[in-house]
């Protein structure tokens, strides 16, 4: 050993709690680890690159004529809808990858280290914002290529993108929870899609809400994803900040407030 002596176990200065600063630093290190893994296996980005392109093309050309009369008129409605749907779908991967990761031996080492217990989770979720960023950018680019001109300008687009990423991050805690409690990666995927489809399709993403039966409108109107989509439409098309934006953020905060503690507790219990 290069070091001649090792400080004894009793002469060390030790603390039994982790400071907030250390928790944040640990989480960023874990996020760095997540990014390194994306760099090593770039093929895992295939969903965030291909899906925005396919979905935007598909939904616009299928529904455009039926709902808005023409493609150009449908774009301002569908692009924000597709954006929310794509990015939230991407967040499912968080849970699946977390499950795969937790089955690896390296998580045993993390558990034995004096680090913030939440950091392996928070880091994974943080690294995934890169995926949301890619999906967001590609959806906007696809919209632009197809002829969508955002009335809210660049500022509107940037804020809309940030809003969607923030909400997707919040929702990813739901999938992270299933990632922690489920036994296998494929079951995480199964459960997550059961939640994902009602959440994204029972919204105002693709069709006007007033065409739905009234009992369904009740759910669609309280669905935070609907508020998110309306907020994104207002930001991108008009550059306007509406109450929907605050409702979307409130909904996200509620999701985090419920699922972050649940997830962390389940994770600790597995530890």
């Amino acid at each position: 050993m290069t070091t001649a002596t090792i400080a004894s176990g009793r002469s060390r200065e030790l603390r039994n709690h982790v400071s907030l600063g250390q928790s944040v630093a640990n989480s960023f290190t874990m996020a760095y680890r997540g990014l390194l893994k994306i760099k090593r296996t770039p093929e895992q980005l295939i969903d965030v690159t291909v899906q925005p392109i396919i979905f935007t093309l598909m939904f616009t050309y299928i529904f455009g004529g039926a709902i808005s009369g023409d493609i150009a008129g449908y774009l301002p409605i569908i692009i924000p809808g597709i954006l929310a749907q794509t990015v939230i779908t991407t967040s499912v991967v968080t849970g699946v990858q977390l499950r795969e990761d937790m089955d690896k031996g390296v998580f045993d080492r993390f558990k034995s280290m004096p680090i913030a217990r939440i950091s392996p989770l928070a880091g994974a979720l943080l690294a995934d914002t890169v995926r949301y960023f890619i999906a967001t950018t590609l959806t906007f680019v696809m919209g632009y290529i197809m002829g969508w001109r955002a009335g809210g300008g660049i500022t509107g687009l940037i804020f809309a993108g940030l809003l969607v990423m923030a909400c997707a991050w919040a929702i990813s805690w739901i999938f992270a929870f299933f990632g922690v409690v489920a036994r296998s990666a494929s079951s995480v995927q199964g459960i997550s899609f059961l939640i994902l489809f009602p959440l994204t399709f029972l919204s105002n993403a693709f069709v006007p809400v007033d065409t739905m039966p009234s009992w369904l409108q009740g759910f669609v109107n309280v669905n935070p994803v609907s508020h998110l989509i309306t907020a994104v439409r207002e930001l991108t098309n008009n550059g306007a900040v509406t109450s929907d934006l605050w409702l979307a953020l409130l909904g996200s905060a509620v999701v985090v407030a419920i699922f972050a503690p649940l997830t962390v507790r389940a994770y600790m219990r597995k530890a």
């Binding site: 050993m1 176990g9 060390r12 603390r15 680890r33 080492r109 004096p114 530890a271």
Partner: protein, 333 residues
């Protein structure tokens, strides 16, 4: 707790149950600071579960344990700062390179970016992994993985290091290298708690040994004390006529003064050989009694013999199923 400063590890009555299976059933351990302590036992004896509880990875169902006087449950975060754990299955990230793994662990431990890089390079050099530093771990051999895993455990220079079967599955040359590394660790003042399935390994490295079986400590002492209790070597006799077994066993008891273990199906008797001189008398007794042998051999104590003597049953051969036990334990936890 009077003179607890001497003890790196103190465990009292540790219990861990998985479903109906008491994996660890009241284990007491005391490891003196600056020594190597070996926990010896077969697959599924509860070694890994015991280490996991001491390393704060599992919560004991009953009993208590202190690491340098800090409780593993109440002061878990402090205990983690005093420990380096090298698990049975390498706890490193397969998809990343050796350097990336170490840098991430170092950053998590609070090293600055530059420090983390320097320390990682230093450890890789020390463990002879510099050339492989940039390769992904999935291309590493078993011995390289263990070395990297150990290097990762040493980043924080912990005063106490847990090595869970550090040489299981390694070839003899790599095993000798690992032993050398462990000896150097102890020379720097670290306390080492290692588990092993090999008496030979415990004998080579450990100052004291606890033999653990079915979740219980069945014997504890220095390697010499332990070997003395099972005889330096054991005498194995195969009888020509299995009906003589009972007579032969009685002869062993009266002549050698030890209790022999009889394996009726094999027609075999195993007895600890405390005094090789007395064996001559035993053979004379056999000839006088007309007991004929087909085979006679002397064996150095193996784990199997230690177990036969200490527990009255052998090491179960079915290592394929018991080897998978820690995995299923983790899932059900």
């Amino acid at each position: 707790m009077s003179n607890s400063t001497d003890w790196a590890v103190e465990a009292h009555g540790l219990v861990k149950t998985f479903g109906g299976n008491r994996a660890v059933d009241g284990v007491d351990l005391s490891v003196r600071t600056g020594t190597v302590y070996g926990v010896l036992g077969p697959n599924g004896a509860g070694k890994t579960t015991t280490i996991s509880m001491l390393a704060t990875l599992l919560r004991p169902d009953a009993g208590s344990a202190q690491i340098f006087g800090h409780d593993v449950v109440a002061q878990a975060q402090i205990v983690r700062q005093l420990l380096g754990v090298t698990a049975q299955f390498a706890s490193v990230d397969e998809r990343l390179s050796a350097t990336e793994n170490l840098v991430i662990f170092a950053r998590l431990l609070g090293f600055s970016r530059a420090e983390a890089k320097r320390k990682s390079a230093e450890l890789l050099e020390e463990f002879g992994l510099t050339e492989a530093a940039r390769r992904p771990i999935s291309k590493f051999s078993g011995g390289m993985r263990r070395r990297l895993d150990l290097a990762a455990s040493l980043l924080a220079q912990p005063p106490l290091i847990f090595l869970d079967e550090p040489t299981t599955g390694l070839d003899p040359r790599t095993r000798a290298q690992m032993w050398e590394t462990i000896r150097r660790l102890v020379a720097t003042g670290s306390t080492v708690l290692l588990t092993t399935q090999y008496l030979d390994e415990a004998d080579q490295l450990a100052d004291r040994i606890a033999v653990i079986d079915q979740g219980r400590v069945v014997a504890e002492g220095t390697a010499d004390e332990l070997k003395a209790s099972v005889g330096e070597s054991s005498l194995q006799l195969r009888l020509a006529d299995p009906t003589d077994l009972e007579d032969a066993r009685r002869a062993v008891t009266s002549v050698l003064g030890v209790e022999a273990v009889v394996s009726p199906e094999a027609g075999r008797i195993t007895a600890p050989m405390l005094n090789p001189d007395a064996v001559t008398d035993l053979f004379i007794t056999f000839r006088e009694a007309g007991i004929h042998l087909t085979e006679m051999s002397v064996q150095k104590p193996t784990l199997d013999e230690v177990f036969l003597t200490l527990t009255g049953h052998g090491v179960e051969d079915d290592s394929s199923t018991t080897g998978a036990a820690p995995e299923s334990e983790r899932v059900s936890a």
